[in-house]
């Protein structure tokens, strides 16, 4: 099943209630996806550096001691890294800021090489991904989503259909190697294996067995090549087969794409102030007050909102 959602503030400045709004939307969608919950939030931009979020290990696969060892290793690494600051931990996560430029693939390799089970979950000038195996309530208790102020974000509640239930396989998926790109997906990419083979032949590494990941890989590659988000999403429509409603974020944009067969629901509400998108209208009504219309996205629809 899965539930996806997105919220985008159109006016200038930060929305102090972005996190709270997104959490409400996620809670309303929790029924659709009891296995995991996650968000990709865009906050104030650290233009001169990155926000790095790392998972030290998965409690479903490793014992707490091993995770703690990893967490310490990551903290030490960050402390020794030139330009790193604001190192903090929460649950199995480590978060730090990194000033200056960085070769993201190199950085990912360096961090993930510190220990078995370590995975970099997001790197961005403004984007942070938080995800947990569990309910939106757990996500909130670990990451205090409701306190997050920012401009836009996407979220996901997962009902696992074809890969495993663990943190790594949860969404949103970061477009690894590209800063500030993430996707959430409801549906099934049926030419996943073909696409994955082609990418792997070119040296791209996949972290999970989850077909949704190929959307993140695809968009990261498109954006790294210089395509716009809209061009990337047009490409998704052209090159992906199967059922999909997909939402994507960059530092300044949110986009949606819907497959040619309307297999999965996606409703959109747009006013002069905001755009809210969700698998079910109840998610928008529960979280966003006001007298606005909600309508179903059409087949083959691509829409991008920019700030």
């Amino acid at each position: 099943m899965c539930g996806i959602m997105g919220y985008f503030r159109k006016r200038a400045g930060n929305d102090e209630r972005l996190g709270a709004t997104m959490l409400s939307m996620l809670e309303a969608l929790g029924r659709r996806g009891p296995d995991s919950a996650g968000v990709a939030l865009i906050g104030p931009s650290h233009r001169a550096g990155y926000i790095v979020r790392v998972q030290a290990g998965d409690q479903l696969a490793m014992n707490n001691q091993a995770i703690q060892v990893n967490q310490e290793a990551i903290k030490l690494f960050a402390e020794a890294l030139a330009g790193a600051s604001d190192i903090s931990t929460s649950g199995v996560y480590v978060r730090f800021l990194l000033a200056g430029e960085a070769d993201l693939p190199e950085l990912i390799k360096a961090i993930e090489g510190l220990g078995e089970g370590i995975e970099v979950l997001s790197i961005g000038h403004a984007m942070e991904i938080s995800k947990e195996v569990g309910t939106p309530h757990l996500l909130e208790s670990q990451h205090h989503i409701s306190a997050f102020a920012g401009t836009h974000g996407i979220g996901h509640t997962r009902l696992c259909t074809e890969s495993i239930v663990d943190l790594s396989h949860s969404q949103p998926f970061w477009g690894r190697g590209a800063a500030d790109v993430a996707i959430v997906h409801n549906g099934h990419i049926t030419n996943y294996h073909q696409l994955r083979r082609r990418y792997e032949q070119r040296g791209v590494e996949f972290v999970t067995e989850n077909d949704s990941e190929v959307l993140a890989v695809y968009l990261a590659e498109a954006l790294n090549r210089g395509a716009t988000l809209r061009q990337g999403l047009d490409g998704v429509l052209r090159d992906m087969d199967g059922a999909f409603c997909c939402l994507a974020v960059t530092a300044t944009e949110m986009g949606l794409v819907k497959d040619p067969y309307a297999f999965k629901p996606l409703v959109v509400a747009e006013t002069a102030d905001f755009v809210a998108v969700a698998t079910e209208e109840i998610a928008i009504r529960s979280a966003v007050p006001g007298n606005y219309k909600v309508s179903e996205a059409q087949v083959e629809e691509v829409q991008v909102w920019s700030r």
Binding site: A262, P265, E280, I282, R285, E296, V299
Partner: protein, 241 residues
């Protein structure tokens, strides 16, 4: 003169089961006008109402509103999600906003009226009744329609009336693309009159005035090439499959 009892329900404090139980219990004791505040786009509201009565939702409803009803009337002041009035046997469902996929799926009778736009697979496998959309409809409306009448006052998406049996469709705007075995037939004077009568009866006057006159509607039915297998039609089968 039968006295119609009135009842107001605040959905905000009730579970879906409680709301539906209250509605059913009230209708059991006689016809009633029930209004539901704060439906909040909840799913499965007003399903399986088997007695006459009127339920008005002051807001949006989620999936399957009015599913499996037999004789009730339902008015939705906001929009509806997927599966509106699915498998309705008889009754009258009106939505002032738009509706999601599969509106009026598999209905056996009754009427479904959508003032706004309908999404994909409107009237899929409908087995009777009347579906009337004031706005546009999406992809593959009328898919595998068996019987009944499907009217879209605005434009359709592509694959319109794909693989139909004996449902008759009428379109006031542009057809985005005809589905497999869908053909246009000439509209008779009687049908034009019927369309004018139905639009006048079911749409608010201001909305009806924006839509074309009955005589400008396009009639679409099945070409019947898929009704029985004939090897000479194998190209049509290839397309369909």
């Amino acid at each position: 003169m039968v006295e119609i009892a009135a009842m107001a329900i605040d959905a905000a404090t009730l579970s879906t089961r409680e709301i539906n139980t209250l509605i059913r219990a009230r209708l059991k004791s006689g016809p009633a006008e029930i209004s539901v505040e704060n439906p909040n786009a909840r799913h499965n509201l007003a399903v399986a109402l088997l007695q006459p009565g009127r339920v008005r939702f002051a807001g949006s409803v989620g999936y399957y509103c009015g599913g499996l009803i037999d004789g009730a009337e339902i008015y939705v002041e906001g929009s509806a999600g997927w599966g509106l009035a699915e498998s309705m046997n008889h009754g009258h469902v009106v939505v002032q906003g738009g509706a999601g996929n599969g509106a009026a799926a598999a209905i056996r009778g009754g009427t479904v009226v959508i003032h706004g736009d309908a999404a994909a697979r409107l009237g899929v496998s409908m087995k009777g009744g009347l579906v009337l959309v004031g706005g546009d409809c999406g992809y593959m409306a009328g898919f595998m329609g068996q019987k009944g009448t499907l009217i879209v006052c605005g434009n359709t998406g592509h694959a319109f009336a794909d693989s139909m049996y004996a449902t008759t469709c009428y379109v006031g705007g542009n057809i985005g693309g005809l589905g497999t075995d869908a053909v246009v037939e000439p509209l008779s004077a009687e049908e034009a009159e019927m369309l004018d009568r139905l639009l006048a009866e079911h749409l608010p006057p201001a909305l009806r005035a924006q839509k074309p006159p009955g005589r400008d509607f396009t009639k679409v039915v099945a070409g019947r090439k898929l009704w029985n297998f004939d090897k000479h039609n194998w190209k049509t089968w290839q397309d369909a499959l």
